[in-house]
Symmetry: C2
Subunit: 225 residues, 2 copies
DNA sequence: TGTACATCAGTGAACGCGCGTTCACTGATGTAC
DNA sequence: TGTACATCAGTGAACGCGCGTTCACTGATGTAC
C-alpha cells in the first residue's frame, strides 16, 4: 500500500509495467507541443523516463509508434461519436447535429490524436488495423446518415446515404482543420466552428428536401425559413 | 552562346543568380517527397547545389523558407482561382462550380504547396504577408459567393455571403485533404472528388433556395429534381 | 514451499551521421571618378 | 576607357548536438518440478 506510492514513477526498478502506453502518451504530448512531424523516438523514450533503446522492445520504429497513436485516436473518436449519436435519441435530426458537435469537440480537445489521424501522412493501405479503425469511426457517420435518409418524407427521392455521409464528413473535417484547432495555425472566424457546421448541415439537409426544424437547441445564425 | 550551355548548372562560378527561388523550388520537391515536416535546410541547400551556409543569405531559418513556399502557394492559388472564376462568365453558377474544380485541381497538382499552406502548422498571425496572401485567395471564393447571393430570386432571403463562402471553402478543403491527394494517405472514394464536391455544392445551393440547374456540363450523381 | 531456469523488458555505452549554425574568407559585380 | 574600391553572394571548414540504432548485459518475473 504505502510503499507503492513512492514507486509511482517506475513501478519496479527494471520493469516499467506498461511502457507501450507510456510511450503513446509521451508521443501525444510531443505531437501536441510540436506537431505530428516534430517528435522523435529518443524524445519519447526520454519523456517516458526510459533509455533510448527501450522503445525498440515495443515498436519497430517511429512510424509504428505514430500509427499506434493514430489507431488509439480512431478508437476514441469512434466511441465519442457513438456516444453522441446515442442511437438516434431523442430524435434523428437532433442526434445528427450532436454528432457534428462531437466531431468538432474531438478535434479541439484531442489535437494530437486528430493530427496523427488526419495530417501525419500515415499510409492507410499498408496498415490494415489502422484502416479498419478509421472505417469503424466513419461508419458511425454513415449509420447516422442512413437513418436520416430513411426519414425522407414521401415524394422526396432518397439520396445515397454514402454520398451524404461523405459530404458531412468532409464539411466537418474541413471546418475542424481550418478553424477548429487551438493552435496558432487556426484561422479566425466570425462565429464558432460549431455554429458554422450546424448551419451548413441544416442548409445541406434542406437541399436534400428534408423538412428539418432547427428546434434542437440550435442558435446558429441561419437564414430564417 | 555555346560556352553558356556548359555552365547551365551554376551560372557564374560564385554567384548563383537566383538562389532564393532555387531554394523554394528545392523545398517544394522535398516536401512533395517526404511531407511538410520532412525537409531540412541543409538538404534544400544540397539539392540547389550550394554550400550549407548559402541559404542563410536569403532565409533566417527553415521556417522562413517554408513560409516563402506557402506564400508562393497562396499567390498561385489565388491566380488559379481567379482564372477559373473568370469574373462569373458565362454565368455565375457555372463559374462557381468551375472554381470548385480548380480548387481540387490545385490541391492535386500542387500537393507540396497545398501542404505548406494548410498542413504545415505555420502560424498566420505572426506573418502578416502570409496572412494577406491567404486572405486574397479566400477573397476569390467570397467574391464568387457575393455574386451568387445577389442572384437570389425574389422571395428568397439572402444568406450571408461570408457564411456561404466559409461553407464552400470548408467543404472543398475537407474533400481535398481527405480524398484529393495523390499520395498514399489519401482515402478511397467511390467517385471522383470533383463529382463529390459538385454534388455537395448543388445540394447546398438548393438548400439556400437557389434554383440552379445542373446544366453546366455536370454529370454528377445527384438526386434528380 | 524452494530451487533452477527460461524468458522478458529494461540498461547504458557506443557508433556513425546529418543537421543547424558560425566564421573568416574570396571571387564576382557594380559604381565613382 | 581604365582603375580603385565597396558590396554582395557565395565557399568550405569547423563545431557541438541529438538522433537512430546496435550490442552485450542484467535485473525482475513466471514456471516446472
Amino acid at each position: 500500500m504505502s510503499w507503492r506510492k513512492e514507486r509511482r514513477r517506475r513501478e519496479g526498478g527494471y520493469h516499467h509495467g506498461n511502457l507501450k502506453e507510456a510511450l503513446v502518451q509521451a508521443a501525444l504530448d510531443l505531437i501536441a507541443e510540436k506537431g505530428a512531424g516534430g517528435f522523435t523516438f529518443a524524445e519519447a523514450a526520454r519523456s517516458a523516463g526510459v533509455s533510448p533503446a527501450a522503445p525498440y522492445r515495443h515498436f519497430r520504429d517511429r512510424d509504428e509508434l505514430l500509427a499506434s497513436v493514430a489507431q488509439q485516436g480512431y478508437e476514441q473518436f469512434e466511441s465519442v461519436l457513438t456516444a453522441a449519436w446515442d442511437d438516434g435519441r431523442p430524435d434523428t435530426p437532433a442526434a445528427f447535429q450532436r454528432v457534428g458537435k462531437a466531431y468538432l469537440a474531438f478535434a479541439r480537445e484531442h489535437p494530437a490524436h486528430y493530427s496523427a489521424m488526419f495530417e501525419s501522412g500515415l499510409p492507410l493501405d499498408s496498415n490494415p488495423a489502422l484502416l479498419v479503425a478509421s472505417e469503424r469511426a466513419f461508419a458511425i457517420i454513415r449509420a447516422a446518415s442512413e437513418r436520416l435518409v430513411a426519414m425522407a418524407p414521401p415524394g422526396v427521392p432518397r439520396p445515397p446515404a454514402l454520398m451524404m455521409a461523405l459530404h458531412i464528413w468532409s464539411l466537418s473535417h474541413g471546418i475542424a482543420s481550418l478553424f477548429g484547432r487551438g493552435d496558432a495555425a487556426s484561422r479566425k472566424l466570425p462565429m464558432s466552428p460549431e455554429d458554422l457546421l450546424e448551419a451548413g448541415v441544416l442548409i445541406y439537409l434542406k437541399g436534400l428536401g428534408f423538412p428539418i426544424d432547427h428546434a434542437a437547441g440550435s442558435h446558429a445564425s441561419t437564414p430564417k425559413k
